[in-house]
Symmetry: C2
Subunit: 113 residues, 2 copies
DNA sequence: CCGAACAAGTAGCGTAGCTACACATGAAGG
DNA sequence: CCTTCATGTGTAGCTACGCTACTTGTTCGG
């Protein structure tokens, strides 16, 4: 799918994958790809800046660790991040309903309840 | 709702409102507001450029008319626009499902069918 | 006469995802 | 041994696109 359609919803996705457990950037990319059956194959240039945004916003916290001589930055959800995720979920549902009202089949304005 | 989340889906919305009949720009804005119960209150600076994009793309065609001394540009869906709308609908459903898989409650990866 | 609603439009801004690149290490293979 | 690939992180610059703010012009009501 056209990945650029994510605009504005990427943060929510990132928070959602981190909800299930802390992950490092590379693993997040793989998790998104796996959970979406390959639909979401996001480049590093999208993920890393997004994670830094989320960290600046206080929604995630990162810790460095070294695994097999490779530096890893592992991100975990903060309490604020969990709250933000709840908000993102609500926003997503509203967005989904609003757009769906135009794009989903059935129930154009004339249709009675 | 945060209107900027529309990113990438606005074209689909415009095509969808025009599907029900030709409208001029101002009326499109009002139609979007009405059909979304006020959630979508888009400024002219968003709509008019978007309509020109759609016209350049051949998805809509416009005709000028004068009503009560006021110039109106009325937009109607072209055949290509109708096809584009079908594609946008498909894309929307895929997008909705993909994002929903992360943001909707229930059915995290482990859950069996 | 003046302001509000109607109607169209542009210029410039900001956000945010994308492309393309750079850098480093470890494992695998010729 | 040396190259190549997977792992892992990161930045610079581009572009798309919606938003803010403004402009122009008409009709109508107070």
């Amino acid at each position: 799918m056209k990945a650029q359609a994510l605009h504005g919803h990427l943060d929510a996705l990132l928070l959602a994958v981190l909800e299930q457990g802390a992950l490092h950037g590379y693993a997040i990319i793989e998790a998104l790809r796996a959970r979406s059956d390959g639909s979401l194959d996001l480049p590093t240039g999208t993920i890393y800046p997004a994670l830094r945004r989320l960290e600046r916003a206080g929604h995630v916290a990162s810790t460095w660790s070294t695994v097999n001589g490779r530096e890893r930055r592992t991100y975990q959800l903060t309490d604020a991040g969990r709250r933000a995720l709840a908000g993102e979920r609500a926003g997503w549902h509203e967005f989904q309903q609003t757009v769906g009202r135009f794009l989903d089949p059935g129930s154009p304005p004339g249709t009675p309840a």
